[in-house]
């Protein structure tokens, strides 16, 4: 289990948004780079699956999955408020309670992607219930493939740091305090703050 200093980063980003032009309520935390080595599943097909779930009173969260690399073919599916593709990037938000995206893949190699989370105003203040994003390798019947559980779970709790649980030895996760492209316009004060935060970033 890893606990990332995302709350502090989000608070800093919030301040950056406030100081920057065209302030937005959405707050971005760190971008997590995830790599999944599926060598032990060589020759098998299955879904690379992302499931975002929270209670009805969960604080708003949108997950963006980008820079997806791996050997994909076949169909994808969505449940709830999920959209996009592995080529263009996938977004999932927790407005529908159960939000899921799965993409059929041929396992055996390394799959990688970046995950970022945008949270609403008040998240840093601890308002609302939490949300979890689970990453799993699944067979055609949506049962676990080669594992007994999810390969990684990201737990976002308002007012608390993110917690990442890596399971089954498939995945590695790194956190990069890189602002998303949409935040590139941030004002100078915000950028200064981010620089300061980046220096402080550590895996606890």
């Amino acid at each position: 289990m890893k606990r990332f200093a995302s709350l502090f980063l989000r608070a800093a980003m919030a301040l950056a948004f406030v100081l920057g032009p065209g302030a937005s309520p959405a707050l971005a935390g760190p971008v997590y780079h995830v790599a999944i080595d599926t060598g032990s599943l060589s020759g098998q097909g299955g879904y690379l699956d992302f499931l975002l779930m929270g209670l009805d009173n969960a604080a708003p969260v949108q997950a963006t999955i980008s820079n997806v690399a791996g050997r994909f073919d076949g169909a994808s599916f969505t449940v709830g408020a999920a959209a996009g593709s592995v080529a263009s990037g996938v977004t999932l938000d927790n407005s529908s309670g159960w939000t899921e995206f799965g993409q059929w893949a041929q396992f055996g190699g390394v799959f990688s992607f970046d995950i970022g989370f945008d949270t609403g105003a008040g998240f840093a203040d601890g308002i609302g219930a939490g949300t979890s994003l689970s990453v799993a390798l699944l067979d055609a019947s949506l049962n676990y493939l080669g594992t007994a559980g999810d390969v990684a779970t990201f737990s976002l709790q308002p007012g608390q740091d993110d917690v990442v649980v890596i399971g089954a030895g498939f995945a590695s996760v790194e956190a990069n305090a890189v602002p998303e492209p949409s935040t590139a316009w941030l004002g100078a004060a915000g950028l200064l703050l981010l620089t300061g935060m980046a220096r402080r970033r550590t895996l606890r």
Binding site: L51, L55, T78, A82, S141
Partner: protein, 555 residues
């Protein structure tokens, strides 16, 4: 496992929750509409664009439909009609559109919210019927109704009414009707009406011509002959200036069961007698002292009356013997008073009494000659406080359970070893052991007295993860004691309003339809946190919601 398209899943979830107007063809015959205090009658009546008025909802809704009222105040400043004279009656919410058998029109509170219908601002200078229900097959649920007024200076009338019914086959459920200048709920006519889990309290008619306070009952059922099937069940009446339950002039059998009455006949929230207020807990029958042919034998069972100014259970000059089974009466001027009347108008004690329990106060009055057996005052038993799990007479107005049922309180439940156990006789009611116990509550199962401490807790609900092996969804809830006092006792977490179709797999019990989990801690110091795991079964993949409640119980 089949992947459902997004819209199908949402529809299933909404259907399971009983929400969502006209989303799926299967629901077209039973639409759901919405009303809100800040709504607009020109809107669509959806949850996003609710109507404003009850009248609009009634105009559109048909048999089988449900109208949900969002929480907040619906304040009325005048009736539908004007007072033609100072002795006229104005109606405020008239429900004259009927549903059908098996397809009632439902006017329900939106889940988890309390709509309050407030008539106290009205200045109409005559009598007022807050809710005037003349239609049939109508179901009111979860509404708070208050303030049906009389006007100072107008002493030409008797009471106004909070809810007035003349229809049949109606259900009044989980209502809180209070602070009216007249009865909280009044069944004037009709048959087969069910009054279920309703609270009626603090009703006081200060401007009645018959005397201040003489007409404000908690509940009145006064339908005439050939109006069978009216039932009051699971109700509470307290602090009303007249009687708790009054069936005077009822020409058909009225059943009152599993209901409570206390502190009647006083100025509300005092022990100062209001002279004109009768002050009976249960006033069962009577025709103003007259003998009536074909008078009904009312049924009054498993009720509790305490600390009423007059009688706990009173026959009120009824011409025939009504049934009084397994009632508990404590601290009333007479706990059981069976004053009846014979054909000649002469007083005669009438009643069929079995398994009743009278404790403190004047136990019985006008009992000689009544058909009484196996009651506490007739048996070689000794009553004292050790017979009961509690003898407290406060706390009876505790919040109801999530489904509206009465709170499980220990008061006047028998304790193991009591000599009141198994001393009754079989009267057709369920019982445990060799014979029925005496009083309203069967058995000796210890009941903790729970206190809701949710407000003292910081509640942190995690996100949810799916265990695909079990199909269960897992989350955690952390309770942090934010008070300065240690919380101890039997700690319990209750999930109120859990989404329909979702089950809590690891529930350790339930209360009022809500699952509970025993909190794995004996105490919680200030600032301490206890975390509870929740496991849900959610086959429809609905969004999961509930209101967390934290209780501490003591035996």
């Amino acid at each position: 496992m089949t992947i459902r398209p997004k819209q199908t899943v949402l529809r299933l979830a909404l259907a399971a929750a009983g929400l969502g107007a006209g989303l799926a063809p299967a629901q077209a015959a039973a639409a759901a509409y919405y009303v809100a205090p800040n709504g607009d009658d020109s809107a669509a009546g959806t949850v996003a664009a609710p109507w404003k008025s009850f009248a609009k909802a009634q105009a559109v809704a048909v048999a089988g439909d449900t109208v949900y009222f969002r929480g907040g105040a619906y304040v009325y400043h005048g009736g539908l009609n004007a007072c033609a004279s100072m002795t006229d009656t104005v109606n405020v919410v008239t429900l004259n559109k009927s549903g059908q058998a098996g397809k009632p029109i439902r006017y329900w509170a939106y889940p988890g919210e309390t709509p309050v219908f407030d008539f106290s601002q009205m200045k109409d200078n005559c009598r007022v019927k807050g809710f005037n229900v003349t239609g049939s097959w109508i179901h009111l649920k979860g509404l708070e109704i208050t303030g049906a007024p009389q006007q100072p200076g107008n002493l030409l009338n008797n009471e106004s009414w909070g809810v007035w019914n003349s229809g049949s086959n109606n259900i009044y459920e989980f209502l809180n009707t209070h602070h009216h200048m007249g009865p909280g709920l009044f069944i004037s006519n009709g048959s087969n009406n069910l009054v279920l889990n309703v609270d009626s309290h603090h009703n006081f008619d200060p401007y009645s011509k018959s005397g201040p306070g003489q007409n404000a009952d908690g509940f009145g059922v006064h339908a005439g002959a050939n109006r069978p099937g009216n039932v009051i069940r699971g109700c509470r009446a307290w602090a009303n200036t007249d009687d708790g339950y009054d069936t005077i002039n009822a020409g058909s059998v009225v059943v009152i069961e599993n209901s409570w009455a206390w502190r009647h006949g006083y100025y509300p929230d005092t022990t100062t007698s209001i002279p004109a207020g009768n002050g009976n807990g249960f006033k069962i029958g009577g025709f103003g002292g007259d003998w009536e042919a074909n008078a009904p034998q009312h049924v009054t069972r498993n009720n509790v009356a305490f600390n009423n100014k007059a009688n706990g259970f009173y026959a009120n000059h009824h011409p025939v013997a009504s049934y009084f089974y397994n009632n508990t009466s404590v601290g009333n001027r007479a706990d059981f008073n069976m004053l009846g009347v014979d054909e000649t108008g002469v007083a005669k004690n009438l009643g069929i009494l079995r398994n009743n329990l009278a404790y403190t106060g004047t136990l019985v009055s006008n009992i000689e000659g009544a058909d009484a057996a196996n009651n506490s005052w007739q048996l070689p038993v000794t009553l004292n406080s050790s017979d009961f799990q509690s003898t407290a007479t406060t706390g009876w107005d505790a919040p109801r359970l999530p489904d509206g049922s009465l709170p499980p309180l220990p008061m006047f439940h028998l304790r193991a070893g009591s000599d009141l156990l198994d001393k009754g006789v079989d009267v057709g009611l369920p019982y445990q052991g060799a014979a029925p116990d005496l009083g309203a509550f069967e058995g000796t199962t210890p009941l903790p007295l729970y206190t809701d401490l949710t407000a003292s807790m910081k509640v942190t609900q995690s996100g949810l993860v799916l265990d695909r092996a079990s199909g269960q969804t897992r989350g955690t809830v952390a309770f942090t004691n934010m008070s300065s006092a240690t919380v101890s006792g039997i700690l319990m977490f209750r999930l109120d309003g859990l989404t329909s179709g979702v089950a809590l797999v690891n529930a350790s019990g339930s209360e009022g339809g809500a699952p509970t989990i025993s909190v794995p801690a004996a105490s919680l110091a200030p600032g301490a946190t206890v975390t509870v795991t929740t496991l849900f079964s959610n086959p429809a993949r609905a969004g999961i919601g509930y209101t967390p409640k934290f209780f501490s119980g003591r035996l």
